[in-house]
Symmetry: C2
Subunit: 376 residues, 2 copies
Amino acid sequence: MPPPFRFDLQATDGAARTGVIHTPRGNIRTPAFMPVGTAATVKAMLPQSVRATGADILLGNTYHLMLRPTAERIANLGGLHRFMNWDGPILTDSGGFQVMSLASLRKLTEEGVRFSSHIDGSKHMLTPERSMEIQRLLGSDIVMAFDECPALPASDDVVEKSMQMSMRWAQRSRDAFGDRPGHALFGIMQGGVNKGLRQASAEALTGIGFDGYAVGGLAVGEGQEAMFGVLDYAPSFLPADKPRYLMGVGKPDDIVGAVQRGIDMMDCVLPSRSGRTGQAWTAMGAINLKNARHKDDPRPLEEGCTCPACTGYSRAYLHHVVKADEIIGSMLLTWHNLHYYQQLMAGLRAAIGVQSLDGFVAGFHAKRAAGDIEPL
Amino acid sequence: MPPPFRFDLQATDGAARTGVIHTPRGNIRTPAFMPVGTAATVKAMLPQSVRATGADILLGNTYHLMLRPTAERIANLGGLHRFMNWDGPILTDSGGFQVMSLASLRKLTEEGVRFSSHIDGSKHMLTPERSMEIQRLLGSDIVMAFDECPALPASDDVVEKSMQMSMRWAQRSRDAFGDRPGHALFGIMQGGVNKGLRQASAEALTGIGFDGYAVGGLAVGEGQEAMFGVLDYAPSFLPADKPRYLMGVGKPDDIVGAVQRGIDMMDCVLPSRSGRTGQAWTAMGAINLKNARHKDDPRPLEEGCTCPACTGYSRAYLHHVVKADEIIGSMLLTWHNLHYYQQLMAGLRAAIGVQSLDGFVAGFHAKRAAGDIEPL
């Protein structure tokens, strides 16, 4: 009998890969984009609508959920899946990244991070052990090891010290996670933009052994070029038979570049956040619906798109509801953006499957170059 | 061939009636509750979701639409139905009531009302003729005559002068509307809480001749008892073979009392507005989801309700998303409230159809008395 959590790599094209992650809650087609459901909701969407865009898996945020409504409360209510009415797989982050971004409100030690809630100022402590406990209470299918990372740029010394502590935390996470069939624990590679540190981090993690590996510490201010620079080598340090997850990425062209370099999973708030501020992502580039040039435009947001925003409404309507601050504007644009992202992932998967990724990527960039991209 | 707009009265029970209004865009089962789509959207709902609650017809607001995006723009884009992606019937108000509530920003004369936009301060004039033109540009299926009414309490003299002008405006509305097969024009009875003035208004309107008649000038501060007092006689002054519409009403018990007194159509922002402030309407009464007593409650909002909020989520989840100010809270509670309102209308229609309205109403009040109604 195959293990209840496993990764089947189905095809490669250069460094790029396509496959399926099998979980007891359903399959995840890779490369996969995971919409973010921070506070037990993908903002402005019903879960069945998120599913309809083609999403196989959602991301939940340990930091937000531990504060409100609390992991214990969610556990008592039957877990995060039942709580938020999503029966597919859920990946939860460890809380580390978000706690670290609280800046002055937190204190970092070898033990973990002590911090004050941004909601009510209450005091909390996150450690590898507590993060594992919270993610277990939530019922997460893919649990992330607890780590921390400095904002870039940072000196090699700072990056190395941080990475070494994250590796000790990775071991503590592994120990605390225990043996939970059907649930996966992913380790997180650190090391900034330093190749040697990335390799050392990868070796430490593979020595511990995880069900998947994330490339952490990117999309933290280093820029796309530096990020791609790391992705040119970092994925190859990781086992080929386990999924590779690039955290917090990104814009469509970030995603395409990451997939070309061997990344299997990504998540980002961008499509949903953009949707709440009148910004749409399309194959032709980004469109700002607040712009007055849309106010008489009878065309759909994106010709040929099958999402409800494009099949039911004109750009003029979307402009109107965005300007009038109507909730339906957030609902329709978020739906479109998530739909576009999932279409992009489906295109990438199909192209890799037939070894035509170069052509697909060339077409991706050509459409954007020909489009009426607006600065956002 | 039957006329393209007609009312088939199918059964009565006491003063209450049930029937069907036939329109070229679909049938309206009466008594009907019309959700309000002020700015070309029923807030926090997609039109297909509004339809799924059981709504046959929406209401649009002339005042809001004339200012933004403007009636001319909507006409150029193919009319309000296409603009907002709702293919069923639409009733539009005349703009009179909302312009009058601008208070100091407007000036009333025999010609009409001059006013300043609440959005940008721009100057506008609404007259019976302009209101008819705007409602034609919008493509409204049921057009309301342009009228005005004083807030209650008001002296008989003030109410009579206002009513007389509204009757002259009703004639001007009728003249300006012209002959538009498939589109209906409704007159609006005024007269405050004065029976003689109500009768005089009804006679003036029926002398002009309309496709339906509204009872206007209620739900403006007089209270339920005074409103029911008027409804005890006012509907009987109107032709039995035309639909009767009570504007801007109301809470569930207002609706039940109005239907008992012979009203066929109603509209109100209450279910959608409540849904955006954490308030739910149920057969057991009103529930405030902000209340901390819901935070661990695994039960659905309303047992047996088939709406997405009740089939997919616990009260604890609804409490969480309302407290966290998540859009899904507005989406789910608005859906539930509109669903509950339409279920109530379906129950009223069925009861009238089998002459058991008294029993239905007794059950309606008994459930509320037994329920855990919270003050809102």
